[in-house]
Symmetry: C2
Subunit: 375 residues, 2 copies
């Protein structure tokens, strides 16, 4: 086990959640107006940490006061969610975020100042219940996965590594034609042995299947991962841990289009509006090995393989140019400018024009050994 | 190894593909006009096998004649694809369907009868290249997976079973919090040991994660699977094999809406327009355990958990009523009629209103032990 692994202890998680609730009880027992102090999650409280190339939450905190009429609903929603999550942890349940939404959803009946009967829903849609889960995340410093909250998990991983989960040693080099499906809470996994040179993350599942069937990871001594398009939190957390705890180089392979560049961006730095996640989910060291706009000429992609970029592609590429991690990279600004100018995109599979072996035997090794990545 | 397992042998696959090509060569060498005889894949050649509750391809065959100007392009496309697939098999490559599209895509230049230079693309989009892959499937009786063609694979599986793939025995009861990601070609997997009472398939990945984390499959001695929404071919093939080779009861759990009912339909019988797949991918014995429309009353789902069905839901439900496997089921006709009448839908997660343990401890066991499924 790596010295830097911080496995999340279920008891500590419960304690931390309970202590948030206890603060409120203490206030009430003292006769003080109950309030919650929660770090502000807005863009204006997001700081770009240039040195570590990571987004962080700033120091601003909001006081959510029960007796402030503008805050009381959100205060109650937060306490409601906290109580449901604590109950689930105490009873060993693993609800999904959708389960939490339904469990908390009910109608409150009350009489207003004119003695009229009124009804109010605790929340009307899942955006409201998700927002208070996020509040609890930033208030406790826990990720929702640590709290045992389940969600879709679409990541896959194979390679020369052994993990431990629920008492089993799982050798990810012995998955055959299949792969290990990454679970929602990656921090409950113990990484026991890693014997590889790097991690290769591919955007597309079909490419993952192909490289896995051809045993690319065995021949090239690497870990092969995919998040199946836009990666989920668990895939990002797994990658982050491999990079942080084992100091493995990380290479990302996507299509050459604004969506592919964005996927790289999510792995590398996360989303500007969810900066509190990035501190644990982002992999600032991630390198992009392609497909780049300059590859179109360099690898002589036939004209009829090129797809015209849409307006949305161009708009998205322009947005990316505003992100600090792209703005500070000369290489990326060159690629993005060129993309906007040429308005041409190509898929990874377009490299098959040079034969099915080209991607695995020439393109990827050339990019990595030739240090032809951008970051 | 079960007596009925028919593992696909790579050499036999190559032989079968080559023999299709050799037929054409033989015709040419004999001086005959080259032609391909391919079973017709249209709806009009689809037969509902009432006894076995499965869609089959009828006996009609089409002759694709090279010298028929209306057929020659498709003839050439088929031969082009066949040659690419054979080359990949000979060289041990595993291209994706998108790779095959690009590899075959090129521009043919020719002069027409007025000596004008003309250009024609071998194919313009992937629908065209996919269509000839389907032709090769029906002509050879192979699935594209058997031919080593890769595609997205999104299925997951855990439970008391041991499979063998690429020389490794993989124990699917020892995946910890994760799962085994089902590979594209399920027929290369050997199922070595199955020690369960049934297979439970859940529509939603988040529900799969929850039931897996809570070890539902261990406590209930079953296999747990998900196809993450609309299932792909590999997930369907895996389920079919467990049902066919091990005679396991199969239970499907989806949301109570037209989309959920359709997912059940795909597992059970497949798609009417792709009947040739159904003979190997469908699981006619699959039973639906919910969520049913009558569950809304039976399990006292609170009114504010109910979602109003959309027009699309109702339209889709009406379509389902025309499918033979629904039409012949009194129970299904009752549910579908009621769905159209009430226009109310509910999600699996709505059952959490009775507590997080309700789904795993009460609802699913009641439905299975109480034989309260419909089929």
């Amino acid at each position: 086990m790596s010295r830097r692994q911080l496995l999340v202890d279920e008891k500590k998680v419960l304690k931390r959640l309970e202590s948030l609730g206890k603060e409120i009880v203490t206030q009430i027992l003292k006769g003080e107006p109950p309030k919650l102090v929660i770090p502000v999650r807005t863009l204006s409280n997001t700081v770009w940490d240039k040195k570590n190339k990571i987004l962080r939450l700033g120091s601003r905190k909001a006081v959510r006061d029960f007796f402030d009429i503008g805050e009381s609903k959100r205060f109650m929603q937060t306490v409601l969610m906290l109580s449901i999550v604590i109950k689930a942890r105490r009873e060993g349940d693993y609800p999904t975020i959708r389960d939490l939404y339904y469990t908390g959803k009910h109608t409150i009946e009350y009489y207003d100042e004119f003695d009229r009967k009124r009804r109010e829903e605790t929340w009307n849609d899942q955006r409201e219940s998700n927002a208070v889960i996020q509040d609890i995340e930033v208030a406790t410093g826990l990720l929702r996965e640590h709290m045992g909250i389940m969600h879709d998990a679409k990541g896959k991983i194979v390679g020369n590594l052994v993990i431990r989960s629920k008492g089993y040693d799982i050798d990810l080099s012995k998955m055959g034609s299949g792969a290990y499906a990454i679970p929602p809470n990656v921090d409950k996994i113990e990484i026991r042995k890693v014997d590889v040179d790097y991690v290769l993350v591919v955007e597309k599942d079909a490419i993952f299947e192909r490289l896995n069937e051809e045993e690319f990871w065995k021949k090239n001594n690497c870990i092969l991962m995919t998040g199946r398009g836009q990666p989920d939190r668990s895939t990002r957390r797994m990658l982050r841990r491999l990079w942080e705890e084992y100091e493995l180089p990380v290479y990302i392979l996507t299509d050459c289009d604004a969506y592919g560049f964005y996927i790289y961006s999510v792995y590398k730095s996360g989303s500007i509006s969810l900066s509190y996640e990035s501190e644990r989910l982002a992999t600032p060291g991630a390198r992009f090995i392609g497909v780049t706009v300059t590859d179109i000429d360099e690898y002589k992609i036939p004209r009829n393989y090129i797809i015209k970029a849409t307006e949305r592609d161009v708009k998205r590429a322009k947005e990316l140019m505003g992100y600090p991690w792209f703005k500070e990279s000369k290489d990326w600004m060159k690629q993005l400018n060129l993309f906007i100018k040429r308005q041409e995109k190509i898929e990874i599979e377009a490299l098959s024009g040079h034969g099915f072996k080209f991607l695995a035997r020439t393109y990827i090794p050339n990019k990595i050994k030739g240090r032809k990545w951008i970051e």
